[in-house]
């Protein structure tokens, strides 16, 4: 288990290095930040001085080394536009993003599980077909459009929820539901498929034969094995939720990382974008690491392979 953990840890670190390098290169090739900062009447000498003070006259690799070194100390540079530490800007917005993605994740997993099980219990009934249809629909409708429609209906027409912004639970519901729907659709189908496959195995027949109730068979015996592969999927989905939150945050004017990053791209404030990408990517890597380790804990076969 120790070598397994160590191997995964090293892998995660190298991946993070790769991500940070690529991000740095894209940001670096996006143009000269001095043009953004310096006033129009600045002399060539002043520009050179500014370039020097920002460290932009050094070799690219050394700049990267400095960037990573600083990042490890929590310093992601200073925004060219807002003249505030990027790490402070991110710290302000990150909790909002986590709140939205977390709510959507819980919603999608919980409801997806329940709906999937319902489909299995009432297999091939009207309910099964309706849920199956809706779960496909949830995956094909563009989330931002659905968000707009939901705003129109619930916030403008019926005035049940606020139109946009963040605040209490009422602000959270519409964006969280919008964000959760595609994941919810996928999870429902996966739970249903996984359960149906497991239900055909011998040990389920044994469980039924020894007189266990259908509930015990489904939730006690079948669910455990059927849900195992979903752990990996859940990790990917969590990443996907954070990734697709950008558009939803824009639609609902949710003050999260995504909206900040999109605004920063429009203002060409690339250190901020770079910081956002790095923080989110680090989150992804951590999630994947957690999933891998969790997997090894619940399924002994995984440990044995390495």
């Amino acid at each position: 288990m120790l070598s397994f953990t160590l191997g995964k840890l090293i892998r995660a670190l190298t991946v993070l290095l790769g991500v940070s390098f690529l991000t740095f290169i894209i940001g670096h090739s996006s143009g000269d930040p001095v043009r953004l900062i310096a006033r129009g009447d600045a002399t060539e000498e002043q520009r050179a001085q500014l370039r020097h003070s920002l460290g932009l006259d050094r070799p690219v690799l050394e700049q990267y080394r400095l960037y990573v070194g600083n990042a490890l100390h929590g310093n992601l540079g200073v925004s060219y536009r807002q003249h505030v530490d990027v790490s402070r800007l991110i710290a302000l917005r990150l909790p909002n993003s986590l709140e939205l993605a977390g709510a959507a994740f819980v919603l999608a997993m919980g409801v997806g599980f329940v709906l999937g099980i319902l489909c299995v219990i009432y297999r091939d009934s009207v309910l099964d077909n309706v849920i199956a249809g809706l779960s496909v629909l949830a995956q094909v409708v563009p989330g931002f459009w659905l968000g707009l429609v939901l705003v129109l209906l619930f916030a403008v027409h019926w005035r049940v929820f606020p139109v946009s912004g963040s605040g209490g639970l009422t602000h959270l519901i519409l964006p969280a539901v919008t964000l959760a729907l595609p994941t919810l659709g996928r999870m429902t189908r996966l739970v249903r498929g996984g359960m149906l496959e497991v239900l055909q195995s011998d040990y389920i027949r044994t469980a039924r034969a020894k007189g266990l109730s259908e509930r015990q068979v489904l939730l006690g015996h079948a669910a455990k094995n059927a849900l195992l592969p979903l752990v990996t999927q859940a990790g990917l989905e969590l990443g996907d939720l954070v990734g697709s939150a950008f558009i939803i945050e824009t639609v609902f004017a949710w003050p999260g990382l995504g909206r900040m990053a999109v605004n920063a791209v429009q203002q060409r404030d690339f250190l901020v974008v770079q910081g956002c990408v790095l923080v989110i990517a680090a989150g992804f890597v951590l999630i994947n690491l957690a999933v891998d380790l969790l997997y090894a804990v619940i399924d002994p076969r995984v440990r044995a392979q390495t």
Partner: protein, 291 residues
């Protein structure tokens, strides 16, 4: 029974295929089907609701007092929504298809090479896959488009970048199970070169799962293109694409719901067609199947 005959008999695949064919016909015949010029701005006919008429101006009017019907209304500068929707299908299908083909080629190549050679090549490509998967993709796309400039070609390339990983993974898994089979060994024994074994003997046998992944990633590409255009970093705003139309209609949601709603339905319809088709393919190809 041939593969195509079985495909047609599979209900979801048949429905998906019909929906796709409808979209392709609409896209190809756009100039014939569109009632008006999708770029033509008519300030006098702004924000007309569906089924309303506007006076025809200009020399091509069929007579004084002639009117044209706007079946789906007009947008904020008086362009005909139906015509833009029809022309928009060209953009969405082209971008989705091109991105799908590009990523399939690149991803399959990586998958074949890493599965066949193993060792350091496999570790390297595996690492590349992990790096790619760790990026918040949409943000990376916005970042790239913002930093390096937008345009149709850039959007296609970036969408391809998003999905190659799926092909690489599935092809690698297939190659691992194929490469030790008798006929591959036989090919080696007859003196076939490595390239020939890879591309003539192994790759064709991974085509089926590639097709399944392709249909889902094309659906993904169409949705993402719409999302990028919606955020204003994708295609040129004057291009009649479904994403840009959605974006145009955002500010008029309360007063002119049709501007955003129509492209939303069009996107949903197309993506549903592609996904149903993929679902049918998967059912056919995977004997364990009904997942």
């Amino acid at each position: 029974m041939s593969f195509w005959a079985r495909l047609i008999r599979c209900p979801p695949a048949r429905r998906g295929l019909v929906m796709l064919l409808v979209m392709v016909v609409v896209a190809v015949a756009a100039p014939l089907l569109a009632p008006m010029d999708p770029w033509k701005v008519q300030p006098a006919a702004r924000l007309l609701p569906p089924l309303s008429r506007s006076a025809v101006d200009g020399a091509d009017a069929s007579g004084p007092g002639a009117t044209t019907l706007h079946l789906l209304g007009t947008d904020s500068v008086g362009r005909d929504v139906l015509s833009r929707l029809i022309y928009g299908s060209r953009v969405s299908l082209t971008v989705g298809f091109a991105a799908m083909v590009l990523s399939a080629l690149f991803g399959s190549l990586i998958g074949v090479v890493s599965g066949y050679f193993g060792g350091i090549v496999e570790s390297l490509t595996g690492w590349l896959v992990d790096v790619q998967l760790s990026f918040p993709f949409l943000l990376l796309a916005i970042f790239l488009l913002g930093a390096l400039g937008g345009g149709t070609l850039a959007v296609i390339l970036i969408l391809a970048l998003a999905t190659w990983v799926n092909y690489a993974r599935i092809v690698r898994a297939q190659v691992l199970s194929i490469k030790n089979q008798g006929y591959v060994e036989a090919a080696h024994a007859t003196g076939a070169s490595v390239g020939r074994v890879l591309f003539v003997h192994i790759l064709p046998n991974t085509l089926a799962p590639i097709c399944v992944v392709a249909s889902f990633s094309m659906a993904q590409a169409i949705l993402t293109e719409a999302g990028l255009s919606f955020l204003g970093v994708g295609l040129d705003p004057s291009t009649p694409s479904w994403g840009t139309m959605l974006n145009d209609g955002r500010d008029y949601l309360l007063t002119a719901w049709w501007i955003s709603t129509m492209p939303g339905i069009a996107i949903g319809f197309t993506v549903l067609g592609v996904m149903l088709f993929g679902e049918g393919l998967r059912e056919l190809l995977d004997p364990r199947g009904m997942r």
